[in-house]
Symmetry: C3
Subunit: 348 residues, 3 copies
């Protein structure tokens, strides 16, 4: 199955530069693509590969000015990355075997309600009063606890655990091994130094179009709900504590952790390994650099970095000067000596 | 099912302020509670909500002085958080369906010994010579390896893996997806640059009343035991390496990691994303701030922060000055210029 | 079953100091060993225990000079840690029950090909067109997706998930709960602030002799392969993003995370909780200290620390001065005052 540059350009509303009849049957990264493969260039860091690649067709951004001749046929679009993603989606749809039906052995409680065209893999567990919408896939070994509701066209990957009373929307994807609805970490300190567990009777609500990575953990609320709003994207191994709220279209990179009751706004970017303490408000559109430790509220649109985190630009200046501390100390010492000499000469 | 303020006060040994006959049937967080709900206030940060909430009854601390009139009926107790936790527990007991019996299909080796009133979920695996005490619950998809012992009234949540030879005490809760007894990370470097595995023949011992979060990992000892002492509370995604010891009633927040052979004392507080290198001693009652990197022993009762971590108060001072580095450098530069002028004028 | 010092020395090519007929039947850590146990000393930090231990035989390094008399029989070898590891391996082989055969219920697709002497545990899932080599062990509850290939003598521990199209070599060990082949975290930002998923159609390739810890995550490539080269050792809870390459015999400690498309060389040491941003090159033999945040390429053999990370020795100097910032500021202030006085006296 091959496609010509003209056919591909039509699919992604692009303009062809070069031979319209060049054809490809496969995808490749620009730095390792072979003849007959389709590639793309979005990150300017990789522009050099554009002039060396063996890919037959390359999708590039409209505004890219070529510095040298390119052997491949080019297709120009407004956003090369998005256009390439569209083609990958079409390819994946063609390739993907449509999973349907119930594999055995699986465990489906009699009180569970399953929509049309769902898939339930072997060793999957579906508890009492569970409701699963049309076209959703519960992969092998997944666990769906009592009273959980899952919307339409949602994918629950192998070994995911969704505990009792949690709610998952439509078009949600949860990757393998992730736990939704574990108990929040709440213990009341006792006079004798031990801790008494605070029962966690709330749940987790995951709205539509959310994607959650592998082996992540999202705790249920103590009371009320931990909420992941529509379109949020959470990476692998992230930790979301009890009663946290994550705003719409917010992105949380791998291994970040957000402590109890913190409210994160919409369109926030949270870098990898970021930690945020509890009971904070993170404003819409804020940007938190990787490994930052956030201990105070962040205003909408603000960028922060560092541990503890503060204003991004100021923090970069301090980081640069921190590296120059040995030099600063040397200058300080020299001045002390000069000043002493001056004082002596003055006394004389 | 509703309760009056008088009935609730009797359960938690509190004093009512307001109408004793006010009744509630449900719980709510103070900032979002509705009429007919019971709430509490413990964190002074949320005091403003006390004067605005629609909750019908609120549990507060004995010593809280009201700044404005409160519409709700109040119940004063010594420790509002603990009192509320007690009520949540009673509620949870009433609500919880008592799980008992063996779901099919499950795998229970013939040499395994099971106590009275246990629950074994579908797809749970119980290996050779396993012993499980009375009233314990092995949820669906959990894996209990050969020769593991589990005490009474212990809860092993869905998909937990407890590997061979490990020991788990009474009233322990292990949350979904956690792995107990994976191999320690021990490799002997070889002359050719490769690594040779050091077999890990020890085990993990988890004492009574321990709670461990979701998707955490606790490695078995190389020889001897990795030990989690009684009453310790460990959060999600924490990593405990081989031969580590965690003292009684020590609390470890999410995503913290403790390297091989480190001994952590009793009543220690370890913040989220903390890292501790191997072979250290952390004294009883020490406090380690979130994201700290601990590379030296810590004396009992001491508080540390930073990466590398040191004395909490000193570190805060340095952090504050670090933000002022651009200003310090400016002052240094100005002085250099003034000093040069002085020297020149002196020469003249 | 006991062995004499002479017999043990013969196995590890060592020299006996003391009674050749001393015998042991068991292993113990030097600080807690009892009579009749074999121990070792490799870390000089523990030398004091050598003079106090109750172990009957101790393996030590050739070049260790004794400071006091030792009660135990000593066996001197070139590398005590490696020699001890060899003995542990022999012990483990003797003890380990040879797992073979297929436990029921398990799910093995008819199109799967299984080698000789393999073990498939209960509730394990083996998908379409899977190929498993001789002597490999698929433990209970493991999930092997469609078209996955697994080599010879490889161990897939309980609850591991290996998703479709991934490749695993010979003598590989993957610990419990780990996910191989989850989708890379790729989303194209849209004009309306939402994100559109970029399909991830590549796979993960794990070469021979790799070991991967528990509850780790390794994402499949967007296109092409995420590759873990031969002999690399990865610890628990690590995150490897899409299209990353990890070089041969590179070691990655627990909770470290490596972002998309970064290439890590051979023999690199990556400390615990390290974060590395995407699209970097980490040279062969580089050393990255625990908790470092790497945002730039690292030259071969270089050591770095800090967040952001830079040259190890320089960073340590800056860290030391950072602690002295309160002192530096005090000196700066004193000089300002003296300078002002000097200026005044000069004016007069």
């Amino acid at each position: 199955m091959t496609f010509t540059a003209a056919q591909i350009a039509a699919m992604i509303n692009g303009g062809v530069e070069g031979d319209e009849n060049t054809s490809v049957g496969n995808f490749g990264k620009i730095e390792e693509a072979k003849e007959g493969q389709l590639s793309f260039l979005a990150n300017p860091k990789y522009e050099e590969y554009l002039y060396e690649t063996k890919a037959s067709i390359i999708i590039i951004n409209d505004n890219l000015e070529l510095k040298k001749p390119v052997a491949a046929t080019l297709i120009r679009v407004k956003d090369a990355y998005s256009a390439f993603a569209v083609l990958l989606s079409k390819y994946q749809e063609l390739m993907q075997q449509q999973l349907k039906g119930i594999q055995e052995p699986s465990y489906i409680a009699k009180t569970a309600t399953c929509g049309a065209d769902i898939f339930v893999g072997a060793f999957a567990y579906i508890g009492e009063n569970v409701s699963i919408g049309n076209g959703s896939k519960i992969h092998p070994g997944a666990y769906i606890g009592n009273n959980v509701t899952i919307g339409n066209n949602t994918t629950i990957n192998p070994g995911v655990k969704i505990l009792y009373n949690c709610q998952v929307g439509n078009n949600v994807t949860i990757h393998a091994g992730t736990v939704i609805g574990s108990d929040g970490f709440g213990f009341a300190p006792q006079a004798d130094g031990t801790f008494s567990k605070v029962p966690q009777i709330g749940n987790v609500v995951i709205e539509d179009n959310v994607e959650i990575g592998a082996n992540a953990t999202i705790d249920r609320a103590t009371i009320g709900s931990t909420i992941i709003h529509a379109g949020a994207k959470l990476d692998n191994l992230i930790q979301i504590a009890h009663n946290v709220e994550i705003g719409s279209s917010t992105v949380v990179a791998a291994q970040a952790g957000i402590s109890g009751s913190t409210k994160v706004g919409k369109g926030v970017m949270i870098g990898g390994q970021v930690g945020i303490v509890g009971h904070l408000h993170i404003g819409d559109g804020a940007k938190i650099n990787a490994q930052s430790g956030v201990s105070k509220d962040i205003d909408p649109g603000k960028a922060v970095t560092g541990s503890p985190a503060y204003d991004y630009t100021s923090a970069l200046r301090s980081q640069a000067l921190n590296r120059k501390l040995p030099d600063l100390e040397k200058r300080l010492k020299e001045m002390e000596q000069e000043l002493n000499q001056l004082k002596k000469s003055h006394e004389i």
